[in-house]
């Protein structure tokens, strides 16, 4: 018990840095969730292309990024690109890598939702004289987005948790600071337990928010 109190005193002492790390974690999570959504919509649009070359390339993109670990992509950019005289900051690498990866996942969720749509509605819209882009914007996208809310919010949770990977490319986010705390105090177990609890708390907040969002959005459709 006394060791816990001593540990918490250390945490307080180290508080400002940990909070800053937490801020960096949230910053990264928010950016990649937003970018991933925009990118996902773009990639999803390309999967609907009338040109088979575009469709095949897009499917290849989705498949490749779902099949390879994100950390390889991050290492490739962070440790590999300077070789070509292209040194990038950890944040830039993280944002780029995550965006490419998350966009692939989101595009797949949207595509799955699209496959479950009533094709007659889309035909009706085309018959009314809407252009392809207009059908996508006013009919296809709103419907698939609504159906994908559970999958997309789940991805947001994964984004928050996975942002901890960025510490492996020297991005000073929350887990990196906890790591620092652990090595300074030699209290590894307590430090990592604290980190786990903080992530669990943040995830719980997203889960609660997502539930309210789902209720608000899904009600009119059923």
């Amino acid at each position: 018990m006394t060791s816990w109190i001593a540990f918490l005193q250390e945490v307080l002492l180290y508080g400002p840095q940990i909070l800053q790390g937490l801020g960096n974690t949230l910053l990264l999570a928010v950016i990649i969730t937003f970018n991933g959504l925009v990118g996902g919509i773009l990639v999803f649009y390309l999967t609907l292309s009338p040109r088979s070359v575009v469709r095949r390339l897009t499917d290849g993109y989705i498949s490749f990024f779902i099949g390879t670990p994100l950390i390889v992509l991050l290492f490739l950019m962070y440790y590999g690109l300077p070789q070509w005289g292209l040194p990038l900051s950890p944040l830039t690498v993280a944002v780029l890598g995550f965006t490419l990866n998350v966009a692939a996942y989101n595009a797949r969720y949207l595509r799955t939702a699209y496959n479950g749509l009533d094709q007659q509605e889309l035909e009706a819209a085309r018959a009314q004289g809407f252009s392809g882009l207009e059908v996508f914007r006013y009919i296809t996208l709103p419907q698939t987005l609504r159906l994908s809310v559970p999958a997309l919010t789940n991805q947001a949770i994964l984004n928050l948790k996975d942002s901890s990977v960025a510490f492996l490319i020297q991005y000073t986010e929350f887990f990196a600071e906890v790591q620092e705390l652990a090595t300074r105090t030699f209290q590894y177990f307590k430090a990592y337990l604290l980190a786990g609890l903080v992530y669990l708390l943040l995830v719980s907040i997203i889960v609660l928010a997502a539930r309210r969002l789902e209720k608000a959005i899904l009600r009119p459709m059923h």
Binding site: F64, I66, G67, T68, P69, L70, I71, V72, L73, F75, L76, Y79, G80, L81, Q83, W84, I157, K161, D162, S164, V165, F167, L168, F175, Q179, A182, F186, Q187, Y188, F189, K190, A191, Y192, L193, A195, G196, Y199, L200, V203, S204
Partner: protein, 217 residues
């Protein structure tokens, strides 16, 4: 260091990557199945505990749990070997996700067929093993495949606890050859190949046990 030496080193890494992935998938399958079966049997006393397990293990990042197990537990006098640490972190997290996959798949089993089995005089255990489990596993294939893929994609974390898998080999090779770009690009393709292999194997097993009337979700 010549091309063949690099290739040999990556092949060794691939072996370890497959070992880690298979060990974690096995851990996940065993715990996920156990949790889903116990949840299905509605044992009141365990319900809260099982729900807590799935919630907690889906809410904590793999890396955090891995560090807690590998670097944290020795402080409590528990030394955990690297592979076991991977199984206790990534494996148990996969188990929590798989438990949810199985729970959903159990819900897809037609209640009328369960009633028919009850009307026949079969016991709860017989129904679970002969009717619900074989159907549930077929419904669960897409969800299982997703989770297996996730395990493969998190397997590089094993380098942080010193397992000589692909990522670790790549880092060593990048340091000696100073050709990080090519090396990391190559292992990206290597991981993609392992992913495709896994996809092929799961599909083959699925085909082997295919029964008309089960729709791929």
């Amino acid at each position: 260091m010549n091309f063949w030496q690099i290739l040999a080193q990556l092949a060794t890494g691939a072996g370890y990557t497959i070992l880690v992935t298979v060990a974690c998938i096995a851990t996940g399958l065993v715990t996920g199945l156990l949790v889903a079966l116990l949840t299905r049997l509605r044992l009141r006393a365990l319900d809260r505990l099982l729900a807590t397990y799935t919630y907690v293990f889906r809410g904590v990042p793999v890396l955090v749990l891995l560090f807690l197990v590998y670097f944290g537990l020795p402080g409590l006098g528990l030394n955990v070997p690297p592979l076991v640490a991977m199984m206790l972190s990534l494996g148990l997290i996969a188990g929590a996700y798989l438990a949810e996959v199985f729970r959903g798949a159990f819900a897809s089993v037609d209640p009328d067929e369960i009633m028919a089995a009850e009307a026949m005089g079969m016991s709860r255990r017989q129904i679970l093993l002969a009717i619900e489990l074989p159907q549930m596993l077929r419904f669960a294939v897409p969800g299982m495949l997703n989770e297996f893929t996730t395990v493969l994609k998190y397997s590089p974390f094993a380098y942080t606890v010193g397992l000589p898998e692909i990522m670790k080999q790549a880092m060593a090779l990048a340091a000696t050859t100073l050709r990080g770009l090519e090396i990391y690009l190559a292992i990206g393709v290597l991981y993609f190949g392992i992913y495709k292999l896994m996809l092929f194997l799961v599909r083959a097993i699925e085909r082997r046990y295919a029964v008309p009337g089960f729709i791929r979700l």
